[in-house]
Amino acid sequence: MTDTTPPDVTTHAMAFTPEDLPTAGSFFKPHRIVLLLIAAALVFCIVWFMRWDWVPQYLPRLGYGILVTLAMLFSTAILGFILAVPLGLVQVTGPWPLKTLAKIFCTVIRGTPLLLQLWLLYYGLGSIFPQTGIKQTFLWPYLRESWPYGVAALTISFAAYEGEVMRGAFAGVPAGEIEAARAYGMNRWTVFRRIWLPRAIHRALPTLNGETVLQLKATPLVATITVIDVYSVISKVRQDTYITYEPLLLLALIYMCLTGILVIAFRYLENRIPTRGA
């Protein structure tokens, strides 16, 4: 007797099934061969006819810049999300003063450009702080730098957008599932921690994926307040060498790779709990 039962769909659901991926043979269809040749020619032209001799010299600085960009992305996405959870929650279930405050915060932050917020924080607060008592505190060495203002502005912005996302996610968890949790004697905190929050995050993951990619591409704004991220390293290259396009192409490639990694990581998280019909 041979075992021909298909794998159990209930435990092996994935967004990508092997059938979706191209097989080795499928690369040799005529139209694909033509496309591959065009791509190869393009890569060859870029490598051969453009100037890349500056790359080795700037490689360490580029690596440092990428690390700063990633640090900006992860710290602000994580801090922002931690703020977004209460922001979303009080809008769904909070008392009206908190609800109103959260709504105002989200509306104001989402209604103004991030660049403006960044500059208001950096040039506004940054010029007020030296005249206050903060100069004597342990915070001063940090507040003298520019990166805390970048982190603050990006965090606030992410919190406001994700606050709205989480509001929708919390409101969208079926009331029956919350009710079931209460019916078996869970207290409010356990209901929130075990049922409501994980269920809301699961619902929000596809949106959070897109928002995190957007956050990655908001990070170059910190270059305007002298934080040295990968974008500002590339700007430096262009100023030093008068090469126009090559650094920009490399920058695009770097952001695309980072985005790809983010998308794959989120897809892995999403697939840990399969959803039907996704």
Binding site: T10, E179, Y184, G185, R194
Partner: protein, 257 residues
């Protein structure tokens, strides 16, 4: 012969939604081993009554006693009542295994995780113990093979059986069924009723709101007919279905046949 212990006593329960009085003074006692079926037309207040027992719906007046312990209530300031001790309600709820019409399984957890959730995070059982009990219960409702599947991938009948296992996992004193088969396709009703019938046969105390009259007649030892927010008639299945006295009950029974 000793009289069986009282499991649930509901006294003079009123429930008002705004101007609409859904329950107009309902009293009911369930002793251990009782299988009570509540029947009645839609809007008669039967689900509301069941949900008042575990305070998912807060009664406007009246009292609920679980296992001899009366739930302490205080005025809520809007003409109704609210529990004065939330901890007490949470503790007593772990004695009441509720099964919902729409299953309400937690969709982000596998079937087994659903079943062991409350034993671990409310009752403080160890994970090993909860898993052992949970797997035994899933085997019992015929879902052992599906223990690692997520609810969305199960049929309605399988989901409801899983929900019954989840309710049994807290080892409740009383099982509360709120129209457990009403959301199911007709061909899936049987598998769920079989599981509930087995529980009834082992003398598990349960209160069952249902539209399945034949089933109610077979498994219940006491039938309560609710109409317009009051108990219109109650008695043994044979009395209720064989010899209905009130006009409304006669009409109700003839309308469902």
């Amino acid at each position: 012969m000793t009289t069986p212990a009282q499991a649930i006593a509901v006294t003079n329960l009123h429930k008002r939604f705004g101007p609409l009085e859904v329950l107009k003074g309902v009293s009911l006692t369930a002793n251990e081993g009782d299988v009570i079926a509540i029947i009645g037309g839609s809007g008669s207040g039967k689900s509301t009554f069941l949900r008042c027992i575990n305070m998912l719906e807060l009664p406007t007046s009246g009292s609920v006693t679980v296992h001899g312990e009366t739930i302490a209530m205080k005025k809520d300031g809007h003409g109704g009542l609210m529990p004065s001790d939330r901890k007490q309600v949470q503790r007593l709820r772990t004695q009441l295994g509720m099964v919902f019409q729409s299953f309400n399984l937690w969709q982000h957890m596998t079937i087994l995780q659903n079943v062991i959730e409350v034993p671990i995070h409310v009752l403080g059982k160890s994970k090993d113990e909860a898993i052992a009990t949970g797997e035994a219960l899933l085997r019992r409702v015929g879902l052992f093979e599906k223990r690692d599947a997520y609810p969305a991938f199960l049929s309605g009948g399988q989901q409801q059986r899983a929900a019954i296992a989840r309710a049994l996992a807290i080892q409740p004193l009383v099982m509360l069924f709120d129209e457990p088969t009403s959301a199911l396709d007709p061909q899936l009703v049987g598998e769920v009723l079989t599981v509930i019938g087995d529980l009834a046969r082992e003398k598990r105390t349960m209160i069952l709101v249902t539209h399945e009259m034949k089933f109610a007649r077979n498994v219940a030892n006491h039938i309560v007919f609710l109409a317009d927010g009051v108990i219109d008639e109650q008695g043994s299945p044979d009395e209720i279905f064989g010899n209905p006295r009130s006009e409304r009950l006669k009409k109700f029974i003839s309308s469902i046949h």
